[in-house]
């Protein structure tokens, strides 16, 4: 049995060096050469400044923008580091609400949000993804229905024809891959950037 001790130490160190250092570092090097933008996090720049990542959702509250899904991410409380406070779309601390199917807190939150959205647009059914929090709290997407739902509000605030806003939603909708995998979705940041560009014209 004693002769198993040398391999236990040396083999562990060698394999650690290979799988824990050589492999990730080599992959980082190759990624930087072939997919430089994606390897850095698919960052979007506007006027030379980073405005976000194409893959990471961000909070939109302004009525002139399309809003993403509610986010349950947290951040340390600035007044008491042992506690946390709500910090939607905190991309340095991802997470979901973890509220269960019989949670009263969830039921109350859903009711409040549904009532608010019904007041905003009484003519359409409230899409479920617009009142539920995502698993990561950073969902960059909403469903096409959730985008359509917000078209009247955005068009009114921006003084744009609804048809023009609708057109932007359609052109920013991504369907299922090969018509099969995933669900149709609209990237909220991309849609809002397109909206700003259209308004600037």
């Amino acid at each position: 049995m004693l002769r198993e001790i040398r391999p236990a130490i040396v083999l562990l160190l060698v394999l650690t060096a290979i799988t824990g250092l050589a492999y990730p570092l080599a992959m980082t090097g190759i990624a930087g050469a072939i997919f430089p933008a994606k390897a850095q996090g698919s960052l979007i720049e506007k006027d030379g400044k980073v405005v976000g990542s194409a893959l990471i959702g961000q909070e939109f509250k302004d009525e002139k923008y399309f809003h993403g899904r509610p986010s349950a991410t947290l951040a340390p409380d600035p007044n008491d580091s042992t506690k946390t406070v709500s910090a939607p779309y905190n991309a340095a601390n991802s997470g979901g609400s973890n509220l269960g199917p019989t949670s009263k807190a969830l039921a109350d939150r859903l009711k409040e949000d549904v009532d608010r959205l019904k007041a905003e647009n009484p003519n359409a059914a409230v899409p479920v993804d617009l009142v539920t929090t995502s698993a990561s709290g950073l969902d960059p997407d909403i469903s096409p229905e959730a985008a359509q739902f917000q078209v009247p509000r955005v068009a009114k605030v921006r003084n744009m024809p609804e048809a023009a806003v609708n057109q932007l939603v359609v052109s920013n909708t991504e369907g299922r891959l090969l018509g099969l995998l995933g669900e149709p979705h609209v990237n909220v940041l991309a849609l809002n950037l397109a909206l700003d560009r259209a308004a600037a014209k």
Binding site: M1, R3, P7, A8, I9, V10, L11, L12, L15, G20, L21, Y23, P24, L25, M27, T28, A31, G32, F35, K38, A39, Q40, G41, S42, V50, V51, S53, A54, I56, G57, Q58, E59, N90, A91, N93, S94, G95, G96, S97, N98, L99, G100, P101, T102, S103, K104, L106, V114, V126, D129, V131, T132, S134, A135, S136, D139, D141, L177, L181, E183
Partner: protein
């Protein structure tokens, strides 16, 4: 439920079955030490590793030596992870300036990664430096996976060999698995994941100014290289807190689909390795069929429950299923399918929050783990777990006809059955026992995030996941406390090693037995009757053990939900 949803599920199953044979063929060659197309490049490296670490690749080990070697290897792995976590503040590759990780959390995480559990009491982007992610976690993702596969291969050798005292060489099996199987697949896989948008950088977290002028700190890192092995090795520990739900850890529907395939790929292929090694591939297909029956039943229930939604959603007129804790790009079907896959295998990665699943939708992942994660299972662990149930099923069949049972030419006798029972009984002892403590000990009770039966399910899920070395969670439970860090670590440890040691004892005792040719009285183990018998034994043993606990958690919650009760 939609037709397009079921098409995704069927496509997934077809690809897994199609991959099992070529991967099984390749892995059989690797573990027999035969030449493969990668040998010209890798053979010199392999020989160099043996030379420097003093391994004689021709010398085989007795099952006990094999097991001791495995344990020593884990002691070393534990020290490496614990060390880098405690010292991360003074080590390089720490652009976010993370401080030393607390003792109990480091202990829990180190146990968690050497046991292939990868339970996340740590927060990923908010706790760990890049060095810990790479040297601590990525490396152990490889080695715990390689260990699992090596052990399964040793058990397979036990079945296929006759009248010998050895089951292979642990060091050789681990090295070959890492070099020839895991690393090459991961290298290609990593590049694919980056092409889908997964970051792979050592740069700082990104400071962005959003369109509305707010500051957003975006965590990045060497994500793709870790995710590749996290999935392929059924480890499941996330780079980020939100795991595979995080858009950087699972950017597209395609990355999601491939991640699901990679969780099952090696585990399914090992059934083929088994069949080839015992000389009849149909023996492997029969085992895969048992897994397939249980898997599809689970998928159907979870998909149905999640598509149906909850009574809260229905009352408010919200249709489209239970989207709380799910991502839009995956939707109901890919989230349900992922949840069943990750718990059927011992992966534990999540692309949706299981805590927010409906009562029945979340019960299936729980059952999958409580059955011992034998539905494909963790790489290696799934196969040896399943073979333990096969031993029992064969024993039951033998009792029915009053004949000494045999399986693939080996007599199954008292010693094998005792060892199989020991492994199977130790698991519920851990998860039921600790759950009982967790729901009465006040500091543990305070960790529950949800009230009512759901809180109980959170605790049961945590200990089940730890014992099963799964690592997924009803994540509302605050696990990073002294109580949970220590108790979960003990569950992970017992769940891993008290399964491995009996399995290896069986391997040793089988290898020493003579092989007997099939006769007219041999129970055929390649047909539908055998598949049905094994499924039955699994459900009866499993059901008798944990059904009462399920009745207190998800089942009563489902009834409460239908009566529109909230807590």
């Amino acid at each position: 439920m939609t037709a397009i949803g079921w098409l995704q599920i069927i496509l997934f199953c077809i690809i897994i079955v199609a991959l099992a044979k070529p991967l099984g063929w390749y892995m059989t060659r690797v573990f027999n030490g035969e030449r493969t197309f990668l040998s010209p490049v890798l053979r010199p490296i392999e020989a160099g590793i043996y030379w420097i670490s003093g391994v004689d690749e021709k010398r085989e080990q007795h099952w006990l030596t094999y097991t001791v070697a495995m344990l020593l290897f884990h002691v070393g792995g534990f020290l490496v992870i614990y060390g880098v976590m405690r010292l991360q503040a003074v080590l390089p590759f720490n652009p976010a300036g993370q401080g030393a990780v607390a003792e109990d959390l480091s202990f829990n995480t180190a146990i968690s990664f050497i046991t292939n559990t990868n339970w996340q009491n740590y927060g990923g982007e908010s706790t760990l430096s890049y060095l810990v992610q790479m040297v601590g976690l990525t490396h152990q993702n490889f080695l715990s996976a390689a260990t699992g596969i090596a052990l399964a291969v040793a058990l397979i050798r036990g079945f296929s060999r006759a009248s010998v005292r050895t089951v292979g060489n642990f060091w050789v099996d681990v090295t070959r698995c890492t070099l020839y199987v895991l690393l090459p697949i991961c290298a290609v896989y990593t590049l694919f994941l980056i092409s889908q948008g997964m970051p792979q950088t050592l740069g700082d977290y990104v400071e962005a100014t959003t369109l509305e002028g707010a500051k957003q700190t975006i965590a990045v890192g060497p994500v793709a290289s870790q995710v590749a092995i996290k999935m392929l090795g059924t480890n499941g520990g996330g780079f980020f807190n939100a795991n595979a739900a995080h858009p950087f850890e699972n950017p597209t529907a395609l990355s999601n689909f491939v991640q699901m395939l990679s969780i099952f790929a090696l585990g399914a292929a090992l059934t083929n390795v088994f069949g080839r090694t015992v000389g009849n591939q149909r023996q492997g297909w029969a085992i895969l069929a048992v897994m397939g029956v249980l898997f599809l039943a689970g998928v159907a229930v979870t998909y149905w429950a999640e598509a149906n939604g909850t009574s809260t959603l229905q009352t408010l007129g919200l249709t489209g299923g239970n989207m709380e804790g799910k991502e839009v790009r995956f939707g109901i079907v890919a989230s349900s399918l992922f949840a069943v896959i990750t718990t059927a295998a011992s992966c534990g990665a999540v692309n949706a929050m299981h805590d927010s699943f409906t009562a029945l939708g979340g019960m299936i992942p729980l059952i999958n783990m409580q059955l011992g994660e034998i539905i494909v299972g963790g790489v290696g662990a799934g196969l040896y777990g399943m073979l333990l149930f096969v031993v029992l099923a064969i024993f039951v069949a033998g009792l029915m006809v009053g004949r000494t049972p045999e399986y693939v030419g080996k007599k199954i006798e008292a010693r094998e059955v005792k060892m199989a029972m020991l492994a199977i009984l130790v698991l519920p002892l851990m998860y039921l026992g600790w759950t009982a403590v967790g729901v009465v000990y006040p500091p543990a009770v305070a960790s529950m995030a949800n009230a009512g039966p759901h809180g109980f399910t959170e605790v049961l899920y945590a200990f089940t996941s730890a014992t099963g070395n799964n690592g997924s969670a009803f994540a509302g439970l605050t696990g990073n406390t002294l109580f949970y860090n220590l108790t979960l670590a003990s569950a992970m440890f017992v769940g891993r090693f008290f399964m491995i040691i009996p399995a290896m004892a069986i391997a040793g005792s089988l290898a020493a037995k003579k092989s007997i040719p099939p006769s007219a009285g041999t129970f055929p183990t390649t047909g539908g009757l055998f598949v049905g018998l094994v499924v039955g034994v699994i459900l009866i043993i499993g059901g008798l053990t944990f059904f009462p606990a399920l009745a207190l958690g998800p089942i009563v919650e489902h009834l409460a939900m239908n009566a529109a009760n909230v807590f």
